[in-house]
């Protein structure tokens, strides 16, 4: 870059937050579960299992931490078809964004469905996760969901 124009001073501008963060006991349990190809949620005060889990009840604000396994299959509650994926999207071919309520869960999680075409998608369809070969403990351990 500096060689482009002789005599012009240039400097790289890298925007980053180089912190290490702990994900804590609730998300930590969720991500640990993913390394074992298990999906877990947290039990809210009203009995719903929230997936992905949150540390505080969305209605009452109370701390919650009881983890319950759900899925791994589930139902699409809404979806959006992307014909031309953006460069950072999880799949490089046409796919669907979806909210997916896993079996036993009381909330839906955001992920993508590799269904081939929009014609294969519908609200209420069943899907199951496709796992990464070597899960690392993050949300991308689920590569995508696929029709059951």
């Amino acid at each position: 870059m500096a060689a482009a124009i002789a005599g012009r001073l240039t400097a790289a501008h890298v925007l980053e937050y180089p912190y290490r963060r702990s994900v804590g006991p609730v998300l930590g349990a969720f991500f640990t579960g993913l390394t074992e190809r298990r999906v877990t949620g947290v039990k809210a005060r009203d009995g719903r299992i929230l997936v992905p889990p949150v540390e505080y009840d969305p209605d009452t604000g109370e701390a919650i931490s009881e983890m319950v396994e759900v899925g791994p299959g589930g139902v699409v509650t809404t979806w959006a078809w992307v014909e031309k994926p953006r460069r950072k999207h999880p799949l490089d071919r046409p796919f669907a964004w979806a909210l997916i309520r896993l079996d036993g869960a009381g909330s839906a999680m955001l992920h993508v469905v590799d269904a081939g075409s929009a014609a294969a998608m519908e609200t209420g369809m069943r899907v199951r996760p496709r796992w990464k070969d070597e899960p690392e403990g993050n949300i991308r351990d689920i590569v995508c969901f696929e029709p059951e």
Binding site: H13, L15, V23, L27, F30, F31, L50, V51, P52, V54, P58, T77, T78, W79, A80, W81, V82, E83, R86, K88, H89, P90, W97, A98, L99, R101, S107, A108, M109, L110, H111, V112, A118, T123, N138, I139, R140
Partner: protein, 353 residues
Amino acid sequence: MARREVAIVGFAQSASVRRETALNEVEMLMPILGEAKAQAGLRGPEIGFTVSGSCDYLAGQPFAFVSALDAVGAWPPIAESHVEMDGAWALYEAWVKLQTGEADSALVYAFGKSSMGDLPEVLTLQLDPYTAAPLWPDAIALAALQARAYLEKTGRSERDLAAVAVRSRRAAAANPKAQVRTTADVETLLATPYLASPLRAHDCPPISDGCAALVLACGEAVRRSAMPPVWIRGIDHRIEAHALGVRDLAASPSTRLAGEKAGATPGGVDLAELHAPFTHQELILRDALGLGADVDVNPSGGALAANPMMVAGLIRIGEAAARLAAGAGRRALAHATSGPCLQQNLVCVLERD
């Protein structure tokens, strides 16, 4: 403590453009701030409180908002604040400040140059950093999930969404500050491809650079204004859960509650400016606020015609006030939103004497 009556006494906005290449934020703001203050009849040193709304992520620099203070002049020292939110929430802070009695006038401004980055990716950074952002869902994808949930729940169609776009663009044709002012009909729009089904380009807002400023006053300070005062009769804002999957995306309970708290009685307004960046969101907001066919919604063209980030909500309040001041009605509702899929909502009820 009795509530102090607060009036909007000045409002100005830049034209919204896809890419402002000649001016930086300070240069964009200076004439707009001058215009709003001149309407209010107040000079800079007379203003008791100054507050801005903007987002450092648009500039890609921490504390980028501080440099915008050059546009207001912060020496000798002024009482000043900033919210990393749309300017509508800066206006809320100013309203609270005036309620304390510590100031009798306030200057509110907002600015956003989205063209400096890749806006759909920048907006991803407002999501949960562990379970959502690593998938890089963009703003249009999330809005499309909400649109389908709404259409399937209500039985409304993509044609209904296109009708919102057509009406919005036709209204914008009379607004020199708006960016999308074409007059395509529903059939033409429905023949275009999806960006993320069920949303097409006309269902989504343009990417805009722009800014706006608004002046509030109480008591004697109101009399200095060149524009007829427009009174803020009620203002309230409410927020929903951060996690998309625990919300009912087809409705907007936070807007409904904010509307109730702000005193926006159904049918009780002549016009409404709704901050609905996506076509289906206008329909969701109309439902939540009980706005009937008799209410003139988004006579400015709304955010579908001009959507400077962090500014479009404040513009809704300013547009509604300016229209009342010009005699277009006696009572108006203005709404602003923030976050994905109408997560947070502010409702403001305005009246002229």
